[in-house]
Amino acid sequence: PADELFYVSGAIGNAIANFKTLVQPWEQATGHTVTIVPMPASTSDQFAQYRLWLAAGTADIDLYQTDVIWAPQLADHFVDMAEPAKDLVPQHFPSIIESQTVGGKLVALPIFTDAPALYYRKDLLEKHGKPVPTTWEDLTETARAIQDAERAAGKADFWGFVWQGNAYEGLTCNALEWVKSFGGGQIVEPDGSISINNAQAAAALDLVKGWVGSISPAGVLAYQEEEARGVWQTGNAVFMRNWPYAYGLGNGTDSAVQGLFDVAPLPSGGGHEGSAATLGGWNIAVSKYSTKQDAAISLALYLAGPEAQKQRAISESNLPTIVALYDDAEIAAAQPIIPLWKDVFTQAVPRPSAPTKGKYNEVSARFWSAVHNTLSGNGTAAENLELLELELSDIKGSSW
Amino acid sequence: MAKIELNNVTKTYGAHQVIKGIDLEIRKGEFMVFVGPSGCGKSTLLRLISGLEEISTGDLLFDGTRVNGLVPSKRGIAMVFQSYALYPHMKVYDNMAFGLELAKSSKDEISRRVREAARLLQIDHLLDRLPKELSGGQRQRVAIGRAIVRDPKVFLFDEPLSNLDAALRVQTRLEIANLHHAMKDVTMIYVTHDQVEAMTLADRIAVLRDGRLEQVGTPAELYERPNSLFVAGFIGSPKMNFLTGAFAAAENCITLGIRPEHVTVTDPAAARWSGEVVHAEDLGSDNYLFVQIGADTPVIVRQPGKLTIPLGSRIGLSPDPAHIHRFDADGTPVR
């Protein structure tokens, strides 16, 4: 029988509008139909909503589009995809699959991914004769030098480096990158041990603390992605840490930096080799309460599969989670930035949502608070990290 | 219909007893006027009869049935409020028509009755105005009009004419009297402080004093044979002259009362009392002479016609012996 499925998803760009075309082959092949229920782009609104619906066992929604960090927290409500997707799984980046696996259960299938990079001003580096920095220390130096020079040249509002310092999930991502690239671990290790209280992590934060008010505006502590992009895109910064979306927008015709910038993997620091880029991205999960699970699973497999991912990459510039697609010529032609990101991905680091399970949000909140406190001058990095460790073990209790 | 009986009715506001036990029977079709000093409880009594205030103790009977608990609209009454109580948002016409509309009278009927009442009260050119666009007297007439269009069994009027000019007042008074004559069965209860209204309209007058009934009777009875010093002083305008001390002792009483119109001016030599004219008021039709004869207050004498006696002259005063009122120490008449 033909089922009518309901798929709830954040409304991003043209995704909703393009969805009809995207699923058309599947609808034709299976005879089922799917209706999309768009949700506000705000992830916290979505998360709250999904939680409530799932807690109430709503059968109205069959499939959920989930953020990479939600899988473990909502794991109980979703169908295990390990078995149905056993052919598909090997094609994906293993780290992404891992992030969606909770206690052996594959909670959701990745449909696209996301990771930040370092945006830099080619023209300015050239003008001041500086290379693209590969360490945070270099970046600090270069940013300061260029900032001073540009300000002296009359651009009073010019800054060296903008990033996301607001106390929110984005700061967890930023800070995780600093800590990880300093060799300070990833807060909670995959085995569940709390690793954050270490010297490298403290060194990383100490370095970053030095940025606030010097190479980064004091207000960076309230910045999210858009504020950073605002400063950047008006030509007022040398460096920016941001997600791929800023690439296309920065090259828009009215952009002050059109054609003047490029991206590189984020630097590393503290003598540590290897940078880190926090893994973002979205997945599709099938509700346990769905009365049309077979059809839903089939749709999930389709959306996570190469065909749909390729189309998404081409039409919406979504980064595929299937490795092979990065070498796809059609994609490279339509969206040149996608191959650029392949390097970034090799360095991708997941947030510790899998080991911390349902407590991830709290862990993340404690982490960003500790970082934000440090950056805004409430206590030193070492103190705050020690405190954080204590808090985290409190939250952890006997086990995550 | 509508005989109204009050049996030992009291009303208390908080700790404050305002009506202190009233027994009164108002006959069917009677025109009863309540008078009494300001604040004595006239309006309150009227409101108890209307049912707007609950009786604290005692019984109220309409035609023998106890109606203490009956809602006002079931009592068949219409009322003119001392403060007008017009509906501020309704045109004059609607103010008057409202009660009829609620009673589901036909449109034509309503219009006919409202216009008739408006003509009567000379407010027919104001039917389209709001109360706030009216003068005080006009508002009062609207309030009266609203009561009379409703054609009830009992009319309650609380000082309905107090803001009207003399001519209109006489006219409206006559209209109310006519209304009363025309509808023999309609009982009317009327609060006023105007002597003329009370005397001319009333079948009987009830004099209230501080929440108690002082005397009930026909206007003539009250005027001629007041039951107390209070009633004697209250009924009649200008007020009855009261003399005490030697003046009263001469008549074997504690207080001697004589109305201004029962004193004649005579030659000082031949007169019983004599004194100096200290003040005079000329009303055109009459003069009031204030004569200081040695009592606490000057004696007021009514003198018809033009003033001929100059201020300061000494004159003699002769009370009409038939009209001398004599009172005890406790204010009861000596007869």
């Binding site: 782009a41 927008l249 | 609209s73 409020f81 007008y84 509906y87 501020p88 948002h89 709001l130 609203r146």
Partner: protein, 275 residues
């Protein structure tokens, strides 16, 4: 102070108040005409009248539908709330019975829980009543914040109406219902319009319930629709369209205020009684 200075001072105050109130909205309008990088510049005047944001919003899926939904939900909410509140406040303001204070406090208590805290329970109620994903879910749940407010406000206003007028109506044979509808309502215009407008705006702007109790695009309300506006990616905030949408949804409210504010007039009770 001489009169001219007073007048100037007064108009200066008016101007100041208007400026403070309207400037952010004006800024939203300016922004709604901007696109791309222009959004990141502090502009006092619109640089160009680019209507693309408006066409993006209005041309988008179901935005018009959302406006209609919101209109329906907000009006129905206000009508129901005013109806219930007017009758209830008559009882609370003008009829003596014991426990009125307690009752008022209980009504107030309904508004004392944070919205998020009642969400789960309310969701259960809504599903139990089978009105999930219908406008009635919103209409019902909005009574939680509109009703206590309207009841309280109307109760205070109702108390101030002259007793004599009510008594006149009683003698005229009016039932409590007639007194409310024919006599008091017209005298309460300022209060009705004010509470009505405030409740309307409250319902018009509510987000959380509207988001939670709907699951299809055709039943969504305006704030949710604005929430649904998004950039090309998760991180991008579509400033231009959001501002355009805000302007679009604020304009009906401004018109509503312009229509109804005439009813907020002084002296409605003038001329009725003396004292």
């Amino acid at each position: 102070m001489p009169q001219p200075i007073k007048t100037v001072a007064f108009y200066a105050l008016v101007a100041g108040i208007v400026l403070f109130s309207v400037f952010p909205f004006y800024y939203a309008i300016v922004t709604s005409f901007a696109t791309g990088t222009a959004l990141f510049e502090a502009n006092y005047w619109p640089k160009a009248f680019d209507l693309s944001n408006y066409s993006a919003v209005l041309g988008g899926r179901n935005f018009g539908r959302s406006i209609l939904n919101s209109l329906f939900i907000a009006s129905t909410t206000v009508i129901c709330a005013l109806f219930l509140a007017v009758t209830a406040s008559y009882a609370l303001a003008r009829v003596r019975f014991r426990g009125r204070g307690l009752l008022l406090m209980t009504i107030l208590a309904v508004s004392m829980f944070p919205q998020i805290a009642v969400l789960a329970g309310l969701f259960e109620v809504i599903r139990f009543l089978g009105i999930f994903n219908t406008p009635w879910a919103m209409i019902l749940s909005y009574t939680i914040f509109t009703l206590p407010f309207t009841v309280w406000v109307l109760t205070t206003f109702m108390r101030d109406l002259p007793v004599e007028i009510e008594e006149a109506a009683i003698v005229d044979g009016a039932t409590p219902w007639i007194i409310i509808t024919r006599v008091f309502l017209p005298l309460l215009w300022p209060a009705l319009v004010t509470t009505g407008l405030l409740a309307f705006i409250g319902a018009w702007n509510e987000f959380l319930f509207a988001l939670t109790f709907t699951s299809s695009e055709t039943t969504r309300t305006v704030p949710v629709a604005i929430g649904l506006l998004s950039g090309a990616s998760q991180q991008e905030i579509p400033w231009g369209p959001i501002m355009a949408a805000s302007v679009i949804v604020t304009v009906p409210l401004v018109i509503l205020v312009l229509i109804f504010q005439r009813k907020i007039v002084a002296g409605l009770t003038a001329g009725g009684v003396k004292g």
